[in-house]
């Protein structure tokens, strides 16, 4: 196994030092290495962990595969991603989650951890075999019907309770379906002007409020996917203050973009939950800094060209995000490396119970890390993305930071800003 010496690297923004990667771990002290990387001006972060990725395989390999998504993730500085269950077939059995897990191992670019569906076929009717997925080779701990809300309160309660047996966690896509029938964008001034059916903030907030009460009642853990409104932040703040075991994520796009972008009717800006107002963006940023929102998760949602080059109402919601997440967060938070490491690596690993990721870059730790050049600027070009899909909302936008290298258990997956395989 090739050893690497990262010369002059700044660990989490600290003063320059040398970091030796040997036999898959961070070695103690300096020393000789097979390869030396001049890391002057580069910042080392623990490898990023994404709790919310759509890899589309099996079923929509034209939009993304486990391999192409893994490559995009590595290029974005990730060493682990959690693959959402809304594939075709749905990842609601041990067989499907094991297939995704195996594909991830074969690609070998990031650790792909499958998320299991909460209900059979994501239909919201009958609980899937959560225990079988938990004890499968994929070792599933996070369950989600993402794309759909587990709307039935009784089923949600049971799911929250049931996964306690194997320390599982339910990740809820919070959207009261009756309040969002036909919804196309955030309900407000802009939706009124554009004549697009509104997706009211209360449809998210009402489910989060219900779910934190359910989680409190049964003493379970709840994770809230892609929080998008100021009102949701308040519900979470109160729940956390009461000691409810709830964690929450926000996407990079909800930290940066607003509903005004829908005015172009270009569905590249269509996403679920929808882009909200500037006031929501501000509240989400504040919540992320304070820790009311625990993590940043991409909700990377690749879509084929024909699913986006069409009328707004007919387009599928979602944006690719793996390759731009860290630059977007850098542009929002600035170079707060400690905070970024916590929100994008340590906390997601902790929530998922994922060992070996999100650890400090100290001797003996698994060498899962990424090197960032914070001084670099990049104009996002959809054609350059490693993802099989091109639906980025940042085309033409200049973002700070460039991921120079990523290591997975001591093996480089990205060097000189390029995927090694």
């Amino acid at each position: 196994m090739t050893s690497y010496l990262l010369k002059g690297v700044s660990v989490l923004g600290g003063s320059p030092t040398d970091l030796l990667i040997k036999d898959g771990v961070i070695a103690s002290g300096a020393g000789k290495a097979d390869e030396t990387i001049d890391a002057t001006g580069l910042v080392a972060l623990p490898g990023l962990v994404d709790l919310h990725t759509h890899l589309r395989e099996p079923g929509r390999e034209d939009a993304e595969t486990v391999e192409t998504g893994s490559r995009a993730a590595a290029l974005g500085g990730y060493t682990a991603v959690f693959a959402m269950a809304n594939t075709s077939p749905v990842a609601d059995t041990a067989g499907v989650v094991e297939q995704v897990w195996r594909l991830g191992r074969e690609a070998g670019l990031v650790d792909v951890q499958p998320i299991g569906a909460v209900t059979v076929g994501l239909a919201g009717k009958q609980m899937a075999e959560l225990g079988a997925m938990a004890t499968s080779a994929a070792n599933v701990r996070i369950f989600s019907d993402d794309g759909h809300c587990v709307a039935d309160p009784r089923l949600m309660r049971r799911a929250l309770e049931y996964v306690k047996a194997f320390d599982g966690i339910i990740a809820q896509h919070a959207e009261e379906p009756r309040l969002t029938e036909g919804a196309q964008m955030h309900e407000g001034e802009v939706s009124t002007r554009l004549g697009l059916t509104g997706w009211p903030a209360v449809a998210e907030e009402a489910i989060i409020a219900r779910d934190v009460l359910l989680a409190e009642h049964v003493g379970s853990r709840l994770h809230v996917c892609h929080v998008s409104t100021a009102g949701s932040v308040e519900v979470l703040r109160q729940a956390k203050a009461r000691g409810v075991r709830v964690t929450a994520e926000v996407t990079p796009h909800h930290l940066l973009l607003t509903d005004e972008l829908a005015a172009s009717y270009d569905p590249v800006y269509k996403v679920n939950p929808p882009l909200r107002t500037a006031k929501d963006v501000e509240a989400l940023r504040q919540a992320l800094i304070e820790g009311v929102i625990d993590i940043v998760a991409t909700d990377h949602a690749p879509h084929a060209v024909e699913d986006k080059e069409c009328e707004w109402a007919y387009a599928r919601p979602g944006m690719v995000g793996l390759e731009t997440a860290l630059p977007v967060v850098l542009s929002v938070l600035g170079e707060q490396w400690e905070l970024i490491a916590e929100r994008m690596s340590r906390a997601p690993a902790r929530i998922a119970g994922l060992t070996g990721h999100g650890t400090d870059l100290s001797p003996g730790s698994p060498a899962n890390l990424t090197l960032v050049d914070p001084a670099a600027r990049r104009v996002v070009d959809p054609a350059e993305l490693a993802s099989r899909s091109r639906n980025t909302p940042y085309a033409g936008t200049t973002l700070p930071g460039r991921i120079v290298a990523t290591f997975l258990r001591g093996e480089p997956t990205v060097l000189d800003g390029k995927a090694v395989k």
């Binding site: 009124t192 554009l194 004549g195 009328e311």
Partner: protein, 307 residues
Amino acid sequence: MIKHLKSAADLDAATATLILDTAGEMAALAGREVKKLPTLRGRTVVNLFYEDSTRTRISFEAAAKRLSADVINFSAKGSSVSKGESLKDTALTLQAMGADAVVIRHPASGAPHRLASWVDGSVINAGDGTHEHPTQALLDAYTMRSRLGKIEGLKVAIVGDVLHSRVARSNVLLLTTLGAHVTVVGPPTLIPLDVAAALAPGIKVTYDLDSVLADSDVVMMLRVQTERMQDSYFPSAREYSRRYGLDAPRMRKLPEHAIVMHPGPMNRGMEIAPEVADSSRSTIVEQVANGVSARMAVLYLLLGGKA
């Protein structure tokens, strides 16, 4: 002159007034023996209709033909459109055919905006989803001006399902641009969120139809689909019509000169009583005739004709 007419917000007061003046000249032409102008000879106007709307399509077709344009009707039925061809592929076909203008009617809001990014010709919105219908607003403004002599300062009540109405959105935008005082009226469930901030800060909102009648110069009744009942926007057609329908007793509360408008097709007995629709205050028949003149003016000016 603007290139596309996607929204009534594309029109400033001067441009809108020019269109209305030009529509007046076009209307005068209709009285002549030879009803055709050679202005758009050799130009191609495509009517791209994804929704059945015979009256709007015929109106645009008549407008284009009276200007001597070549008209191609591309309707969702019996063409590649119904076979699932994407709007973009259709746009590229129209582009290859050299369409100078595409008149598009589409059930999805914003479809004209998408189309305009794929074709070089002018795009004219003939109604997109629950968004806008700018030529309807122009013909309505033209009708008001013909009947009442002006638009500036008129008090206009727009009544009904504002939430789902493209006619309402375009009228609010155009009429406020032209200096009218607009009040939108309807049950709270059918008034969109933040409507004034979204469309025109000066407009008023009321849920009480009776409170505005005595002080209105124009009452514009919107079509209300009875299916909205199933979605709990209102309890029943009967209750809707009692609270928001324009019947004869309500019509008598209007000032002597006030007019009653409706974009059609009407639900007689629902939002408008038959005796109101057929009264001398009603402009419903003229609106249809004025539609051709207004659309001639739009095609003429957008395609580079001089006024």
